[in-house]
């Protein structure tokens, strides 16, 4: 983890069981930086191999930084964004 105590990372929770690849791509962001988010709301959609997954907000708060933009590739465990809890 980041050691950053006042913000929570947004990351792919459960990597698909049947995926051989450790890489994915961010397909769509549904929230922009600075927007308020609710825990469990879908923040973005990623594609891992052929499977699409929604990545959910880890806490109520504000989406303070998008690390991995649309069409960006990321690896398993990477931080996609940061949420600053309310």
């Amino acid at each position: 983890m980041s050691g950053d105590t006042d913000r929570v990372e947004v990351t792919v929770g459960e990597w698909p069981d049947d995926a051989d690849s450790d890489e994915g791509v961010v397909v769509n962001w549904f929230t922009r930086e600075g927007a308020s988010v609710t825990e469990g709301e879908s923040l973005c959609e990623v594609q891992i191999e052929k499977v699409s997954l929604d990545v959910l907000a880890p806490a109520d708060g504000t989406l303070v930084e998008v690390v991995c933009g649309e069409d960006d590739e990321f690896a398993r465990g990477d931080t996609l964004a940061w949420v600053s809890p309310a």
Partner: protein
């Protein structure tokens, strides 16, 4: 643009498919008589994500997978609608219309008229349309003109998530048959990347966009580009680049072909004097000719120059350079606009 009418700032953005699904889910919660039938719409969630997640909430009885029998299930949708239910039936690809054409052209479209208005067919027929991904002649058509041609069908073509949701609410609540034609390239599917533009802020509550209200997606003074579906975004990109050259283009998104908002188009042409119609359907006997003729009938004198861009009357070829040749792109639109200046 219509979004500006809302006083509250909408932060949440949705893809077109999610906006469509949200409207369908809302209507299904409100009205038990709404149900969805189609091929691979339940477990798969729609090949183009048109029903993603609906099975979980509504179950197999209301999100119905059907046999590959379009005549039967589209016809059954007509019958259920005539009984007063509000079915939504999906053609996986609009190209598959042919196997069920009688039910669409001779039953769904005509029963209201033939009954002297005594029978209504409150049915939404959704269909994935469009090319640009090399799926060749039997899986890439839009066929806008085919369905707008026969009297009796309302024809809707969203280009953004905001429009998709409002038009879907309106379609399901409409008492007449509505063809809801969604472009695959705009849905925001991971494996078929959308251009920038169709993903928009979308209010969480329900709202309707009336049919027959074209939307001026960009204002301009020198030329009117009239288009729909995917080509709204190509036209906007062309307009952006034309602006650098000092040409101010207005982009009119028709949003529905039936009813057709001729007034908005004519008003725009009266301002700019130049009309470019861009369509992803075949050129002859289609949308481009219809728009030009409608403007000419209303105000021939307003037309200084007219250009039509469409599929040049060939089936859509498979190979990438061939498909790129026949589907109008941004450069083609810019060139057509330049010819009017």
């Amino acid at each position: 643009m219509a979004q500006k009418e809302h006083s509250k700032v909408i932060e949440r953005e949705l893809t077109m498919s999610r906006a469509m699904v949200e409207a369908i889910a809302h209507e299904m919660r409100e009205n038990e008589e709404v149900f969805y039938m189609g091929e691979d719409v339940a477990d798969y969630g729609g090949i183009f994500d048109s029903t993603q997640g609906l099975l979980d909430e509504f179950g197999y009885d209301r999100i119905m997978d059907v046999p590959i029998s379009e005549t039967a299930y589209l016809g059954a949708a007509v019958g259920a609608a005539q009984e007063g239910m509000r079915p939504i039936a999906e053609l996986m690809f609009v190209d598959f219309f042919g196997v069920a054409m009688d039910q669409i052209y001779n039953q769904m479209a005509k029963n209201t008229y033939m009954s002297g208005g005594n029978v209504s067919v409150p049915l939404v027929l959704t269909a994935a349309v469009g090319g640009t991904y090399n799926d060749a002649a039997q899986h890439s058509q839009t066929l806008y003109g085919t369905f707008a041609h026969v009297p009796g069908l309302k024809v809707v073509v969203p280009s953004t998530a905001y429009d998709a949701k409002g038009l879907m609410h309106n379609a399901i609540r409409d008492d007449d048959p509505v063809m809801y034609m969604f472009h695959k390239r705009l849905m925001g599917i991971g494996w078929l990347p959308a251009p920038d533009g169709p993903k928009t802020p979308v209010p969480e509550e329900d709202y309707t966009i009336p049919f027959g209200s074209a939307d001026v997606k960009r204002e301009g003074d020198d030329v009117t580009i009239v288009t729909l579906g995917l080509h709204v975004h190509r036209a906007l990109e062309a307009a952006e680049s034309l602006a650098d050259d000092g040409v101010s283009a207005e982009v009119v998104d028709l949003r529905s072909l039936v009813p057709l908002d001729t007034d908005t188009v004519v008003e725009s042409v009266e301002k700019t004097g130049n009309l470019v119609v861009v369509d992803e359907d075949y050129r002859s006997f289609g949308v481009t000719g219809e728009i030009v003729a409608s403007v000419a009938e209303e105000n021939l004198g307003a037309l200084d120059n007219v250009e039509r861009l469409a599929i040049p009357d060939v089936p859509i070829p498979y190979s990438r350079p061939l498909e790129n040749e026949v589907v109008p792109d941004v450069a083609d639109i810019e060139a057509a606009v330049e010819r009017t200046q």
